[in-house]
Subunit: 223 residues, 2 copies
DNA sequence: TGACTTTGACAAGAGATATTGTCAGAATTA
DNA sequence: TAATTCTGACAATATCTCTTGTCAAAGTCA
């Protein structure tokens, strides 16, 4: 038993360490997931297809993921993280007013969908109705978006009562606007010019900001 | 061959005509679909379950529907039609101002989800990511909702330039707000009081209406 | 070169599910 | 009562798909 438990020691192969090789495969599978889920759709994709696209066999799928849903979660998180990073970069690039920054973030947000419709398909459609777990992922991402909206509103309209804003569902509503407009945009094949979309989104934001601003201020004005 | 083509003639049975009996079964299956899709979820439901809930066997499923997706479409349409009817009733009940009417419609819209969470589950979650065909259904329903919003805006703010409004994506955005707020409400187990939700939704509407009103009017005001 | 690891192709069994078909008995009508 | 339709239970087939396992060849290292 304990004589020769030669546990298939991992070693350098092709100049690359074992864990790196595995990471490579994992990455390929994630890219394949993006492709398959984003074009065929999650429901119509099976493990064999994913592996075919990745140029790997099923064994390697199970090396990195437990099942299809697992891969979807990873792909989705990657998309959200990338978007979040881009948004933060656009925000912290301190050019112009906060309003300009918001427009930049919006443009970035929509442009990502246009540049790679697979992202749009997954982020806006495929992610929904898969399972309770995946629904939770979606919910988290939506909250991040709502928080971003909240942050923007507070930056542009500092008079807004912060605590009141933090309890309001209006940022959630605005996040919904952004998403629904994206839905329509995608389903219509991106015919609406991006500039129009951004300008109308900004209208939505600014109108709501002004409204909240007035309400917060009215307390002292009326008293 | 043409001797005795006795084609199993339909006849009255249990005092009910054949086509009525079939319609009855169909109805039971739709109700079963609502139950199964709305609690277990579309993906985790199979035909046998649906038939079990309906108290019928598989033969009768295929008598009325071609496949699971077919049933989902019918169930969804039924939900949308009901909602549409209720909305129209609340609108045409000419009590109070158009603003009151809008609040009534909103209350009705959200209350339906609270009264029967299965509706919420299907209408808000299960419907997405099933197939291209079903996505189209969803898109249609969202457009109906956006049209309703548009109608309301025009009633309350008649100064808004009608043609401009008809091309704007802002009603789509507001429809998205309503939906996203519903998402959060449902996922949080309906903890937010309905009155709060309605009041904040009305805030969204009124702020946007005023904003559009100003923009439309500004042409003549500034000239 | 020789030993060993990694890899890809494919087999294979388990498990679901869709869909059609059979059949006997219950229910109903004439 | 006799004929016949309706109905539910279940069989059976055909497909998929997941998941694990086997194996030999190719690749790599020492």
């Amino acid at each position: 038993m304990s004589m020769k438990t030669k546990k298939t020691r991992s070693r350098v192969y092709g100049g690359i360490k074992a864990n790196l090789r595995q990471a490579e495969r994992r990455k390929k599978l994630i890219e394949a997931g993006l492709e398959a889920f984003g074009t065929k759709g999650y429901a119509k994709t099976n493990i064999k297809m994913i592996c075919g696209i990745a140029g790997l066999t099923e064994r390697y799928f199970y090396e990195s993921f437990r099942h299809k849903e697992d891969l979807l979660r990873v792909v989705y998180r990657e998309l959200i993280d990338e978007g979040q990073r881009d948004a933060m970069a656009a925000l912290e690039d301190n050019e112009g007013t906060p309003v300009d920054a918001a427009a930049r973030v919006l443009r970035m947000f929509y442009q990502r969908f246009y540049q790679d419709p697979r992202r749009a398909q997954i982020q806006l459609f495929e992610i929904l109705g898969v399972s309770k777990n995946i629904d939770r992922e979606y919910q988290n991402a939506m909250r991040l978006l709502a928080d971003l909206v909240r942050l923007f509103l507070y930056k542009v309209f500092p008079r807004i009562h912060e605590e009141k804003l933090s309890r309001s569902i209006i940022p959630t509503g605005l996040a919904g606007s952004i998403i629904m407009i994206a839905h329509e945009w995608v389903l219509n094949g991106f015919v609406t010019p991006l500039d129009d979309i951004i300008s109308e989104c900004m209208d939505l934001f600014m109108a709501m900001g002004k409204h909240l601003n007035k309400k917060s201020g009215s307390r002292s004005e009326r008293a």
